[in-house]
């Protein structure tokens, strides 16, 4: 299954305040959207990889996400290769591949833009899980609330994340039940068969989750969720010296990024 959950480790990244991590995340997101030059994006990627290294979490723990990304990356590359309106023709492809919108030439710009798109997406795909995997959900919620995200919204977001394991657990029971009813186990089977099995799973999964969510609704309101009273927060959060370092660095990065972009650097 695709999904990332908190991994307990004692590293500088883990001990950062949730707000600091949210800021750094926003800066990376913004810069990755602003720059299209693969070199610049590679720089950002290197920065993110550095953070992964510092968090001491192996990249293999988001194998599912990376696999999913692989397919998307392939599609993006192909689309850009054929359809990007570039000027520097590298070589010509003719014959049956010539479809509507395809000029017949593979262009340098097409390749560069495709690679840049893939890299940008990759940065986004791996930086978001890092936040979730190094920040306990309560801290994340508190950080959202402290940066003035409405409590209800912050709560719903973090609760949805916290319910993922329960949904995965239910999915595994359902898939076991279906195996017992004669559905074949596809070890390396055809994609079509896998899709059909997954479609069969969705009905009980959705209905079951819906039923649970009704219980959740009752449980939450029985515990005064939404009371017309100013809510208190039991958890506390504090900035430490390393937080200030990361905040300063993020701000610097952001300003530099804006200046470069104004000078028309880092774009193709």
């Amino acid at each position: 299954m695709i999904g990332a959950t908190f991994v307990q480790k004692d590293t500088p990244i883990h001990s950062l305040d949730g707000r600091t991590k949210l800021l750094a995340l926003m800066v990376i997101f913004t810069l990755v959207l602003v720059f299209t030059d693969p070199i610049y994006v590679l720089g950002l990627l290197a920065l993110v990889m550095l953070a992964w290294g510092a968090a001491k979490i192996p990249l293999s723990s988001i194998k599912g996400i990376l696999q999913f990304f692989g397919w998307i990356a392939l599609i993006i590359l192909l689309l850009n290769l054929f359809f990007y309106p570039g000027e520097t023709n590298l070589f010509r492809i003719s014959g049956p591949v010539a479809v509507i919108g395809f000029s017949g030439y593979i262009t340098l710009e097409g390749i560069l833009f495709g690679v840049a798109m893939v890299l940008r997406l990759l940065v986004i795909m791996i930086v978001a899980p890092l936040l979730v995997m190094t920040t306990p959900l309560p801290d994340l919620m508190l950080a959202l609330v402290k940066i003035k995200v409405p409590y209800r919204f912050a709560f719903i977001m973090t609760t949805a994340l916290s319910l993922l394991p329960a949904i995965q657990n239910r999915a595994s029971i359902i898939s076991q039940a279906q195996l017992c009813r004669g559905v074949s186990d596809f070890e390396g089977g055809k994609i079509w068969d896998k899709l059909r099995v997954m479609a069969n799973m969705m009905i009980p999964l959705i209905l079951g989750t819906f039923r649970d969510s009704q219980t959740l609704d009752v449980a939450m309101s029985s515990r005064a969720f939404g009371a017309p009273i100013k809510r208190t927060f039991f958890m506390e959060s504090h900035f430490h010296s390393f937080d200030y370092v990361v905040i300063a660095f993020s701000c610097l990065l952001m300003v530099t990024g804006i200046v470069l972009r104004v000078l028309h650097l880092g774009v193709i």
């Binding site: 306990p136 309560p138 394991p165 009752v218 309101s221 939404g226 009273i229 208190t232």
Partner: protein, 284 residues
């Protein structure tokens, strides 16, 4: 004793249904009582539970007539979060009523919503977790606990909000014997030591005889009997009609009585059964 719950002429129907889920319920429950609610599946027990904190009719829409007053608050006029300070609700599915990442967040959640100060939350959390026997579990993930522990966390969560009434809808039906026993002991102590009023829905008749002062029997949305465990479990005809199986010793005594053996009082627990059988043996 003054009554803490007053229900008058309560009738409730879910949308698009012909039969009402609850019909003509009149009830008054005294402060500090341990009340068991029994009845077959579909008799309206869960709907009944949801009435006490206003979940019916606020979360479960439908037609409601009559009134439910808990701790002086009419459930029709007061929002669920307001009632939550007076009525704690624990449901059957242990896992899906816990939604926080750690036990600490879980127990603090209700108090935070009520605007309780941080230091006070800490104090209440320590007390509540100690009461249910889960001190030191603050950092654990609720989803990784056993079913019995999860139910005890759920109880600690409502306990920290300091309600006068606890409503528990089949809290042990999905637990193993050890888990059930531990949960029942906590519920019993809530009543004995803290004086909480308990409303417990259960299918376990041994628990009913062991813990309850009063038994309410429901069938097809109505209260068909209301009395002590003994008065309920002595009525062979009623039990058969609505498919309730009394404790085994009561069942044996009812059967012997039917065969003309002069059983005195129908025993409802092992001790009473031993005494009664020995008495009969000596009388013969």
């Amino acid at each position: 004793m003054p009554s803490i719950i007053e229900i008058k002429d309560l009738t409730f129907s879910y949308p698009h249904t012909e039969k009402p889920a609850l019909k003509n319920i009149n009830l008054s429950i005294e402060t500090g009582k341990f009340v068991a609610v029994i009845g077959p599946t579909g008799s309206g027990k869960s709907t009944f539970c949801y009435c006490f904190n206003g979940s019916v009719p606020r979360l479960f829409n439908g037609d409601m007539n009559g009134s439910v007053v808990v701790a002086g608050l009419d459930t029709y006029e007061n929002e669920i979060p307001i009632l939550a300070e007076h009525v704690g609700l624990v449901v059957q599915n242990a896992r899906s009523q816990l939604f926080n990442v750690t036990v600490r967040e879980e127990v603090a959640f209700g108090c935070e919503n009520l605007g309780v100060a941080r230091e006070e939350i800490r104090k209440r959390m320590d007390e509540a977790l100690a009461f249910v026997g889960l001190s030191g579990f603050e950092d654990r993930q609720p989803s990784a606990l056993s079913g019995g522990q999860q139910q005890r966390v759920a109880i600690a969560c409502v306990l920290a909000m300091q309600p006068e009434v606890l409503v528990l809808d089949e809290p042990t039906s999905e637990l193993d014997p050890i888990g059930s026993e531990q949960v029942m002991q906590v519920i019993s102590r809530l009543n004995d030591e803290l004086g909480k009023t308990i409303i417990l829905v259960t299918h376990d008749m041994d628990f009913v005889t062991h813990y309850a002062d009063r038994v309410i029997v429901m069938n097809e949305g109505e209260i068909v009997e209301d009395g002590t465990p003994r008065s309920v479990f002595s009525q062979a005809e009623l039990l058969r009609r609505i498919h309730i199986r009394p404790p085994q010793v009561s069942e044996v005594a009812l059967e012997l009585k039917k065969c003309g053996i002069p059983i005195g009082q129908i025993p409802i627990n092992l001790e009473e059964a031993v005494v009664e059988m020995e008495r009969l043996r000596h009388a013969h």
